[in-house]
Symmetry: none
Subunit: 211 residues, 4 copies
DNA sequence: AATGAATGAGCGTTCATTCAT
DNA sequence: TATGAATGAACGCTCATTCAT
């Protein structure tokens, strides 16, 4: 997912210049989406921030739908890549790696980008089939990574149990998006959450019996 | 909170026929919001579902903003009332009452109304000050209720600790909104979540030391 | 067709005022269509000529398609009504009535409205199913009227023969649209066409044998 | 007319590869015009069908206007050439040659290209001076050819009379465009039209007195 | 209370055209 | 010759809001 460069639809952006433009467009779109919400993410606003005209914008993205698709793919793949990096870079001991992932995910809530983007994505996926699919893909991948760590920590677990544990862990953390992080609670709350999360998840993983 | 009838913005009737109309309008608005998303929650659609004209709709709600405010207040107070009812109706033993609340909240995710409404609310509150306040009010109340139960379960806890535990519990459950419930995972997942949630939360509450 | 007043789609124009507006809109649309062609018949142009805003125009006609439908219906029914009037008002002798119809149709080519409108209609009906249907309806009615007169002139004709004769007559006259009339040929040409048409059609009708 | 290759607007190549490209462009344009109508005959569509880019298309035709001019010239000259061929190839007897022309023109209505193209042309010429001129040129030539045949059939006719007869004949046939031919009436109707047209035209030509 | 009418801004999209490379 | 990139105007349409009746 991460290597194949943003592959646009059909023709435009075959040169480097076009790729630069497309990146600028998606960056602008992300800014607008995060700062003003999806409702105000209009082609005019995106073009304005990208420093181009609406006509030129539609040259790269003939419809808003395709733009949104690329935007979501880009943002979501960014999160997945980062998580994969964390998993790899955190030593041999499964517990340590699990904790690293949890702490990464929770620390990420300090970025307004994260706390603003995901609720938009969830709302979008309520009524946009495409957004729903992309979102599902990402969370499936995330849960698989977490599930692997869980099985490494407690090899006695059945797959189904491990999957449910991963789902529980993922939900618990995603749910913090709206409540902790910059401007929502004191910094201490986020630290508290990290501690509680790691402890209670590990306990839960170890205690769950294989029956 | 529950008895004081939807208090509209000044002018139109608060009793009798006017109140009936207002309820019809808010019901219609809720339907549209849940079924089609905020973007499509237009005055036209609301009026259509409410069986009145747009002109008449603006007689009751001179702006969409005021309508949204009332709508959110109505829906959110509904959830709070229900939770208060659960807390009261669940016996004397704190653990039982806690479990009852957790199970109510998770079971509620089987209603599409719930899984669709909240992401819209969260996205809305990203950029709408008013929505953010109403949402905050509701979650503060919810966490207070949960905090009380936690303190009843483990009286040794400091207030701050109990508050953080309540926040953690609330986050964990809210996070399930996008992933469990009707049409998202098998029914077994939801049951699994309930079990894990209750067990791990109680464990966490009991184990947390007062230091 | 002529009595049931232009019946709009669903709601708008229930009062006299709305009907007046609709007439103004259709008149404006007809003007633009005739003076500038279908390509330039934009909602903005129509609204401008009608002296209203685009927003108000779309209040009456939620889509250009519905506007076009009403416009074509109005114009075409006008032609049919006029022809029916001519048929009735032209005495008892079949030949005289036939001649009256032919002369009416050809004289009508002196109106720029006519010579400009019909080619637009024909082009439209090439690729617009709806326009094609409306056009077909009108010409079917026209040919039926002509066919009746032909059978009155020569009662020996079989129906199929009379129908083909009516088709031939209709084609011959419609074909003049692009070539005779104001600004296309001298006035004398139009008179000549009338004479030739009447003579040769009557000859053809009388000579066609019933075999 | 047929040999002098499409003479483009000054600059680009008139021989070799350039000519091939131009032919491909005009063929593509004709296809689009006939299959989708003038409104959808956009540079994008033409370039797409011609297998080139819009940028390259505008190299050959710096404006849509010039492309349209060439397109109309090419199509119209094709019809004239064909008619000239028919006139020549149909023996010595004037009546036979006249009939051959009439039958050719009517049989041509079986081609969708014909029945779709001409209404577009007529509508175009309503508001496009240039299209009007080209169209006029073609019909003047057609009527001259028909007029010559008419005078050969009835040498007693005055020129003006013969011209009016030719106009009448031409109109009669052009008028069939919208009503007979593939997909409009049964095949029998077209045969009927041919018979009626030949008979009644010849009758009219012979009977018209020289006074 | 309720309606129909009207506005003006903004939406996503299409298009002919221009231009540097 | 040929391309990709860019523009600016216009398109059909939607929307929240205003208002006379």
């Amino acid at each position: 997912m991460q290597e194949k460069k943003q592959q646009r639809h059909a023709r435009p952006a075959t040169y480097g210049k076009g790729q630069v433009r497309i990146d600028a467009i998606l960056d602008a779109a992300a800014e607008v989406l995060i700062n003003q919400g999806y409702k105000k993410m209009t082609l005019r606003q995106i073009a304005l921030r990208a420093g181009i005209t609406v006509g030129n914008l539609t040259y790269y993205y003939p419809s808003k739908e395709t733009l949104l698709k690329d935007l979501l793919e880009k943002i979501l793949s960014g999160y997945l890549e980062e998580m994969a990096r964390i998993v790899k870079a955190s030593g041999h001991i499964p517990e340590d790696r699990f904790v690293a992932v949890i702490e990464y995910l929770i620390d990420d809530l300090n970025r307004q980008r994260t706390t603003r983007f995901f609720p938009e994505l969830w709302a979008l996926s309520n009524h946009d089939e495409h957004a729903a699919e992309l979102m599902e893909d990402m969370y499936v991948a995330e849960r698989r990574a977490i599930c692997d760590l869980i099985q490494a920590i407690n090899p006695n677990l059945e797959l189904q149990q491990a999957k449910h544990l991963a789902l529980f862990v993922s939900c618990s953390i995603e749910g913090m998006t709206m409540f902790v992080g910059a401007g929502k609670q004191q910094e201490s709350a986020l630290q508290s959450m990290k501690k509680m999360a790691c402890e209670s998840f590990l306990l839960l993983i170890r205690q769950t019996s294989q029956a």
